[in-house]
């Protein structure tokens, strides 16, 4: 828990004296990678952050998008990886709590949670299973209790996360534009700490998260209390309604140190506070502990003196503790006192702005070899391969997970978990589609195209509900950035994301960078997770398929099995050609699908992603209890073998379900749009069949596959 030598010298030079012990602790917390983004900040500026819908104000903890009719949507994404790897229940639960508070900081009510979970190989590793099970319970217990539906997410297992966990949580908020908290403050305003008491949990959490996980520092893991969080949500929104809040900030990584310095810096004010005024969980806490504790469920509020009594009454109503801990000054200083003694007196902009780094990069050596395709023998029984894939942990139904989350509370969830993207009803008659996607297997083989693929996949999912993407959030998770090879993969992924965002005019409205994700066996695979929000003006597309419907495939299937579930799960081979998004093709396909949706010509759309076409078709059959006959000869493609056609994970592909009578019109529109497509099959019978003119390549009963698909993850978790 200390500063690097050059950072110490920089600090000394900036303040013109030696820092005190408290000052050192404050600065060390704030200058941690976790809080300061010192490695990534320079590079993140390459992402486009502006757009006609983006509302940007000082000191926002979440992204804000205008969804019309004087309503706004807020969004934020964070991870809680290190804590979850040590204590999965509390780590995951507090991950939910943290991101929810970012949403209420804008004065919006949280209306949805999505979570992306990644663990080691749960088929072989009981510890990974334990981490998984407890992280899910942690999210369920927290999200359910605060009454915010967990509507979507993803779950993935990969050897690279052995003895580790990635827990990403995104949250969506919704509110009236005129209630948005604008964050202002002036001399004489009061600084109030509201919520749970400050304890000794989570001490040094942000530095813990900015280092490789070598020791299990359990005291750095915060303790969750969803009941207090629920009271805070109501208290803050009530205080907002009664105009008691001039500015607000969530206490997260770095605790008070971070909240005070960042608030003071972003609002160009000074804040003077007395540590003795902070309500603590236990007596005898040192001032330094109080300043860097990461106890959860706390909010920092700046209020006008005349509004204090109203604020206190609101807190009393909701049984939420609140303490006036300081006052706003005009000297731009962060002044920490204990009674009359000054413990720290630092320029807020120095604390809030760590010296940024220019880390070196080097293309990783492993990338030279990895893209070489190994000649693999095609399995003779592709039916068995498909069955195996559909019951593998990565592709099996995640019903065991989302069945534990209340995904209905709030009565907004129009498209529920288990489909392409979740869709929420908004109060202005519109609908919001949300999805998060990651793909470490692709990103490992090709960080740039892998990251673009994640972005496009999230867009595809949103498009499948009839929504047009309006914004994205990114969560960039990598190993130790001091390793030039790892930093290179970060830069590459970021470049890819920036290119795609610019090309498609999708602004990045928020995100997080998480480095030092290292396991005992080495760094994790690059794991950017991309969240995309889309807006639908009319009723969303709720995919259904029934006997007599036809199946259309839009998009080309290419020789891109690198990082596929087929290569890795069936053949145990890591490598090959990573799927690449062709921007032009991507845009044309997206627009064509949306055009068909607008004209009400399709009954459903489903994207082809992990597991390829065979898995995507099977999902449609299983979700709708209907068989499907697919002709492999009809698939728009390069010249490929059967396993490639079935399992390649090429992007930009959509499966469309339509009634026969609409086919002529659909074909007309698709042909005019210049996209590759074909009618590849029809829904009939009770079998999933992939055929050539002469033979059945895959023939499985829907019923049998569905049972395996639905049960396998639960069986694995509960019975090993």
């Amino acid at each position: 828990m200390s500063l690097e030598k050059q950072e110490y010298e920089y600090l000394e030079k900036k303040i013109g004296r030696k820092p005190t012990k408290t000052e050192l602790n404050i600065v060390a917390a704030e200058w941690s990678e976790h809080c300061s983004y010192k490695s990534s900040k320079k590079h993140l500026k390459t992402l486009p952050m502006k757009g006609p819908r983006v509302i940007s104000e000082k000191g926002f903890d979440s992204g804000v998008l205008d969804v019309g009719d004087d309503y706004i949507v807020t969004v934020h994404i964070e991870s809680h990886n290190h804590p979850s790897a040590v204590e999965p229940y509390g780590g995951a639960a507090t991950g939910v709590g943290g991101v929810i508070r970012d949403i209420i900081s804008a004065g919006t009510r949280p209306i949805a949670i999505l979570d992306g979970l990644r663990f080691g190989n749960i088929e072989k590793d009981p510890h990974a299973r334990w981490l998984f099970k407890n992280a899910v319970t942690g999210i369920a217990d927290y999200g359910n209790c605060i009454g915010i539906p967990t509507v979507g997410g993803e779950v993935e297992f990969d050897d690279c996360y052995s003895n580790y966990a990635l827990v990403d949580v995104a949250s969506i908020g919704f509110g009236k534009k005129d209630r948005l908290i604008k964050n202002t403050a002036q001399k004489g305003d009061l600084v109030v700490l509201l919520g749970g008491s400050t304890g000794r949990d989570g001490i040094g959490g942000s530095q813990f998260a900015s280092d490789s996980l070598e020791s299990e520092n359990r005291s750095a893991v915060q303790i969750p209390d969803p009941f207090i969080e629920k009271l805070i949500i109501e208290a803050v929104l009530e205080a907002r309604n009664q105009k008691c809040i001039k500015a607000v900030k969530d206490l997260g990584g770095g605790g008070l140190s971070c909240a005070i310095s960042e608030t003071a810096d972003s609002l160009s004010i000074g804040i003077e506070l007395d540590v003795d005024s902070v309500h603590t969980r236990e007596p005898g806490m040192s001032p330094d502990e109080i300043m860097i504790s990461e106890s959860q469920e706390r909010m920092l509020i700046i209020t006008d003196k005349t509004k204090l009594e109203t604020l206190q009454d609101i807190c009393k109503k909701f049984h939420v503790q609140c303490s006036v801990i300081g006052t706003v000054k005009d000297n731009k200083m962060m002044h920490v006192k204990k009674e009359k003694n000054t413990l720290a007196l630092l320029p807020a902009n120095v604390v809030a702005n760590a010296p940024l780094l220019d880390r070196p990069t080097k293309k990783p050596a492993y990338l030279k070899e990895i893209q070489n395709e190994k000649k693999l023998k095609q399995s003779s029984n592709l039916s068995l391969v498909l069955l195996k894939l559909l019951s593998s942990p990565n592709l099996a139904s995640k019903r065991w997970v989302y069945g534990q989350y209340d995904h209905e509370v709030g009565i907004r969830t129009v498209i529920k978990p288990g489909y392409d993207a979740a869709v929420l009803r908004l109060d202005n008659g519109k609908f919001l589609a949300v999805k998060i996607d990651g793909n470490p297997k692709h990103c490992y083989i090709d960080p740039r195209h892998g990251a673009i693929g994640c972005f496009e996949e999230a867009c595809r999912n949103v498009v499948c509900t009839g929504a047009k993407p309006i914004g994205m959030v990114d969560h960039l998770q990598f190993g130790n950035p001091e390793d030039p090879e790892i930093f290179w993969t970060f830069i590459e992924a970021l470049k890819g994301l920036a290119d795609f965002a610019k090309h498609f005019d999708i602004p990045c409205v928020g995100g997080k960078v998480s480095f030092y994700n290292e396991t005992p066996k080495g760094p994790i695979k690059p794991t950017p997770v991309i969240g995309v929000l889309g807006l639908i003006d009319k009723k969303p597309l709720h995919t259904s398929a029934s006997k007599g419907d036809v199946l259309i495939l839009v998009g080309k299937t290419k020789n891109e099995l690198g990082g596929s579930e087929y290569f890795e799960y069936i053949h145990g081979f890591v490598g090959g050609t990573c799927p690449k998004v062709d921007f032009k093709e991507s845009k044309e396909n997206m627009d064509a699908v949306l055009a068909l949706f607008k004209k009400d010509l399709i009954k459903g759309a489903h994207d082809c992603s992990k597991g390829g076409l065979a898995v995507a078709v099977s999902e449609l059959c299983m979700q709708n209890n209907v068989g499907c006959k697919v002709s492999l000869e009809k698939i728009p493609r390069e010249k490929l073998s059967h396993d490639l056609l079935l399992f390649s994970e090429s992007h930009s592909r959509y499966l469309l379900v339509a009634q026969k009578q609409n086919l002529v019109q659909i074909q007309k529109i698709l042909s005019q749009s210049n996209v590759s497509y074909d009618v590849i099959g029809s829904f009939e019978g009770d079998q999933i069949q992939f055929k050539t003119d002469s033979a059945n390549i895959i023939d499985l009963s829907v019923d049998k596959v569905q049972k395996r698909w639905l049960r396998s993850l639960e069986d694995l978790v509960l019975h090993g």
């Binding site: 009271l231 989350y405 209905e408």
Partner: protein, 226 residues
Amino acid sequence: MKVGVIVFPGSNCDRDMYHVLTDVFKVDAQYFWHEKKLPSNLDAIILPGGFSYGDRLRAGVIAAHSPVISDVKRLASRGMPVLGVCNGFQILVEAGLLPGVLLKNTSLGFMCKWTHLIVENNKTLFTNRLKIGQKIPIPIANGEGRYYADEQTLAELKKNNQIVFRYGEEINGSTMRIAGVCNKEGNVVGMMPHPERAVEPQINPIDCKPASLIFESLFNTIGVTH
């Protein structure tokens, strides 16, 4: 007419219930914070779902001692319609207004899923528009939803026709698959599933009429027609 929606610290389906009453059924509704007195000119009281007091100790037990509960008891004894949904049901049981207890589900975890109910008693103030044996598609969302009653209580329930709803399938280990019960008089009803989540076709591609009839029974009772 006016329906009171009681809000406890940790209630989280209060807004949903309010929305359904006011926006879907267009009746007058008002929130009552658990420390407030209830006016006697209310026409019905609803205790919504959620996690009152974070389910600490046992679901519903702390809320059952809230100041508002003595008013609920007083008004219920005068015959006022009272409905408890999910956590509201747990509170009514803990407050002694309804028989039985709610235990942890046999899965030991929280369950959020769609199921269907079978109407067993259509004489209550919340089921008089339904038919005996009618199916109601509806979701559950709870961790402590397993209804349990000992043999003696069960015999009483049967004798007095107090079993209101049963699940159409084995779902969480509830005694006799009981999903909802009423008091002897039939004016206080508690149920674990969420009728307020099952009345809007825009949200759910299911038949929303049966669950709507739970609300319409109430309006029928208190003289509002739709």
